[in-house]
Symmetry: C2
Subunit: 121 residues, 2 copies
DNA sequence: TATAGCACTATACTAAAGTATATCAGTATC
DNA sequence: GATACTGATATACTTTAGTATAGTGCTATA
């Protein structure tokens, strides 16, 4: 009776870490300098490698290639190769990638409020 | 008539960047290795510096101090000094900081789904 | 034959994020 | 007088993220 389990059930370093893990996953997946620009570009339309390179200004082919691979591993985008001459490769958001929309929208809402708050201080 | 504005209105590098900015803000604010643990810990109760240091295992006082400052600058937490002996300093989430709950919950939901998906592959 | 476009990759580098370790001033306890 | 507590800060270091630049194999066009 001297200790209430419910008060601190989540509030131990271990439980706290467990609570955070899925949130951290999202940050790991869409974090970094280039992932969001890529996801947003692909949410508008399917893109070829060079199109993305031109669309996302400042990105190097090395980073684009690297990030596309990561996003593909995480199942957010898919890669389709066509044997045209020269070969063309199309990147598109998977349904799973599209499901991030809700998350991005929620973040964006808060971020817009934050921007207004900062501006009015 | 040969170009439809609505098709590409958001879809230029400049407009795309504008769209992303508030989302990036959120990542910048809660991203990094230690911000979420700090925010979550403070969402359960007010903490003193040493309490946070003990609660968040692995953090060094340098990082804790650095991140607390950043979070305070962004208005998410507040710092209260009491002239006890020795001095005690209490950190708490502001209402504004608490407003991140919704964002964190949404991210967590998606992250949990992602974890289940990965596990079942 | 030279040049250009596509989808990358390789190598070397710089910058940012995070870690390790020691130390500070003040007080209270052993 | 030595040690420990509080809330930090300083310096030096390593690790991760991102950049710069050049080059690959293929083919079509000039």
């Amino acid at each position: 009776m001297n200790k209430k389990k419910s008060d601190t059930s989540i509030y131990t370093p271990t439980e706290c870490k467990k609570f955070i893990l899925p949130v951290r996953d999202v940050i790991d997946i869409i974090g970094g300098k280039w992932r969001l620009p890529i996801i947003i570009a692909l949410s508008f339309k399917i893109h070829r490698f060079k199109e993305l390179e031109r669309q996302i200004e400042g990105i190097t082919p090395r980073m684009l290639s690297k990030e596309l691979k990561e996003l593909e591993i995480n199942g957010l985008i898919s890669r389709a190769v066509f044997n045209t001459m020269p070969v063309s490769v199309e990147y598109s958001l998977t349904d799973y990638g599209k499901s991030l929309d809700k998350v991005i929208a929620t973040m964006r809402d808060w971020g817009l409020t934050h921007r207004n708050k900062i501006r009015n201080e």
